[in-house]
C-alpha cells in the first residue's frame, strides 16, 4: 500500500477515536515525536526522584516517611512503565538513558530547582504534581495506545501525590508561625517554576496543527496553564497562603484568573542547562549509572552462565 493511502487510514483511525497500537503503521514524524515526548516524561520521573529523595531520610514523622517513600516508589514505577511504553516504538531504554546522560534528551525543567526545606516536599506534591496532572489527564486522551493507557494509570497515582502534598502544606499553614513561614517560602519559590513547567506560551510555541490532528498534543500550553491556575489559587487561599504574583486577579467576565508576566528568560536558561541544579541532577544520574555498571555486568554474566548450563543439560 502506498504511504499516502496508509496515512489516510492512519488519520481516519485517529479521527474516529481509535488508538494506534505498536504494530500499526505510523508516520515517521509521529513515531519520532512520541519517542521524544515519552522518553522525556520517563526521564522526568526518574530525575524527579532526586529532589524528593533528598528528604526521605529527614522526613519529620514515620507516617510522612512512609508516604514519601511510597510516592517516590511510584515515580520510579512510572519511569519504568514509561520506558517500557517507549520501547514499543522500537527504541531501547539503554539508548534513551544514554541520551539523558549526554544531555541530548531533556527532562522537566522543574526538577532543576532545589528542595531546601521540608515544605518543599509539600509544594512539589501540590504544585508540581498538580500541574503534571493537568497535562497528563489531557494526554490520557491521546492517540497512541500504550502512552494513553500509561497516563490513565499514572494520573490515578499522581492525584494521591497531589493530595498528600496539599495535606503537608495545610498542616504547615495551620501550624506554628515558623511552619507557616516555611510553607509560604516554599510556595514563593515553587509557584513560578510550576507555572513555567507547562511549557512556553502559545505565542512562543505555536501548536503544530498536525500534532493536534494526530492527537499527540491535546491542548495548548496556555490552556493547561490556565486550568492549573484556576484550580490552584483557591486552594492557596483556603489554607491562607499567598500566591507570589502581585498582578494576579480574578476576571469576573471570563471566570478565570489573570496572572502577571512570566519570566521566560529564566525558563529558557534552565532548559539550556543553567538552572540551579541541572549539573547536580545529571551528575547524580550519571554517577548512579557508572557505579551500577559492575552490578549489571554481574547480573548478565550470571544469567549467561545459567543459560549455558541449561543448554548443556
Amino acid at each position: 500500500m502506498e504511504d499516502s493511502k496508509k496515512l489516510e487510514q492512519f488519520e481516519a483511525k485517529i479521527a474516529s477515536g481509535q488508538k494506534i497500537e505498536p504494530k500499526d503503521w505510523m508516520p515517521e514524524a509521529y513515531r519520532k515525536q512520541l519517542i521524544r515526548m515519552m522518553s522525556q516524561h520517563a526521564h522526568s520521573e526518574i530525575v524527579g526522584m532526586l529532589p524528593e529523595g533528598n528528604w526521605i531520610t529527614r522526613a519529620p514523622s514515620l507516617r510522612r516517611k512512609a508516604i514519601l517513600l511510597a510516592k517516590v516508589q511510584d515515580e520510579a514505577g512510572h519511569g519504568l512503565y514509561l520506558y517500557s511504553a517507549t520501547e514499543t516504538l522500537g527504541v531501547d531504554r539503554k539508548d534513551l538513558l544514554e541520551q539523558l546522560h549526554t544531555g541530548k534528551a531533556k527532562y522537566s525543567s522543574i526538577f532543576n530547582y532545589p528542595t531546601l526545606t521540608w515544605a518543599d516536599i509539600g509544594a512539589i506534591g501540590w504544585l508540581v504534581d498538580g500541574a503534571a496532572i493537568m497535562n497528563q489527564t489531557a494526554l490520557a486522551r491521546g492517540s497512541y495506545g500504550p502512552y494513553a493507557r500509561a497516563m490513565v494509570r499514572i494520573c490515578k497515582e499522581e492525584s494521591f501525590h497531589n493530595r498528600q502534598g496539599y495535606e503537608i502544606m495545610m498542616q504547615l499553614a495551620q501550624g506554628t508561625p515558623e511552619q507557616k513561614e516555611m510553607a509560604q517560602d516554599a510556595l514563593n519559590r515553587w509557584w513560578w517554576p510550576a507555572i513555567m513547567m507547562l511549557g512556553p506560551g502559545d505565542d512562543q510555541s505555536p501548536n503544530s496543527e498536525q500534532l493536534m490532528r494526530w492527537k499527540v498534543k491535546m491542548e495548548s500550553n496556555d490552556a493547561i496553564r490556565q486550568r492549573f491556575i484556576d484550580r490552584t489559587v483557591p486552594q492557596a487561599e483556603f489554607i491562607g497562603l499567598k500566591i507570589p504574583d502581585k498582578d494576579l486577579k480574578f476576571n469576573e467576565a471570563t471566570g478565570h484568573y489573570e496572572h502577571g508576566p512570566i519570566n521566560w528568560d529564566e525558563f529558557f536558561e534552565v532548559i539550556k542547562g543553567n538552572g540551579p541544579c541541572n549539573a547536580k541532577r545529571l551528575k547524580d544520574r550519571i554517577e548512579a549509572d557508572k557505579k551500577g555498571r559492575w552490578v549489571r555486568e554481574a547480573a548478565l554474566a550470571y544469567a549467561a552462565k545459567r543459560e549455558k548450563e541449561k543448554v548443556v543439560a
Partner: protein, 252 residues
Amino acid sequence: MTLQQAKFEYLLRLGDSSLIIGHRLSEWCGHGPILEEDIALINIALDFVGNATSILAYAAQVEGKERTEDDLAYMRNERDYRNLLLTEQPNGDYATTIARQFLYDVYTFFLYEELKKSKDDTIAAIATKSHKEITYHLRHTTEWMYRLGDGTEESHQRLQNALNDLWMFTGDLFDMDEVDALLIKEGIAPDLEKIKEAWEKHVKEVIIEATLQMPATTIKQTGSREGRHTEHLGYLIAEMQYIPRSYPNTKW
C-alpha cells in the same frame, strides 16, 4: 526487671533494627544500579518503616508513658537506640548493601517465624504480617547473592570483601541477656541459640552456592543490647531526627 520492662526493651530491639536498616536502604533512592533495583530497595525500605511503626507504637503502649511511636523514633539518643550493629553499617557499594541485607534477612526470617507463635498476640500478629514481607526480601537478596557471587570476578571479589567486613557484626545478632531469658520463659520470644543454628546453616549454604568462602574472622562485636553502637549511628540519627529536634512540640 518486670515483664513489662522486658517487653518494652525487646520491642525497641525489633523496631529500632527495622527503622535503621530501612533508613539505610532509603538512602539508595534514586541512586540504585538499575531502575528495577531502585524500586525494589524503596519497596523493602517501606516495609521496614511500616514494621518499625507498628512495633514502636506497641512499644509505646507497653511502656505506658504516653509516648508515641514518633517520640520513640525521633526523641531518643544514640545510647537509647537498640538496633543491631549490623543494621547501622553504611551502604558502601552494592555488594555491601546486599551482604548486609542478606545476613539480616536470614536472621529475621527465622526470628519472625518463631515470633509468629509468640504468646503476646500483638507481637504474633505483627510477625505474621511481616514474615510474608521478609520471605520476599530474603528471596530478593538471595538472588543477588548468587548473581554477585557467581557473576564476574569483580562482583565476586566485592561481595567476598563485604561479607568479610560485615562478619564481625553477626555475633551481635544472637547476644542474649535477662530480657531474653524472661521473655523466653513466658513464651513471648524465642531462644536465639536456636535461631543461630538455623541462621548459620542457611547462610553457609547460600555462601557456598554463590561460590564464596565463609569469612574466616572470629572477631565478634556486640553491644546493641546496651545501646553501645558503632560510630555510624550518631550521624544517621542526627539526620533522621533533625526536624522534630529543631522544632519541639510541633505537628508535621
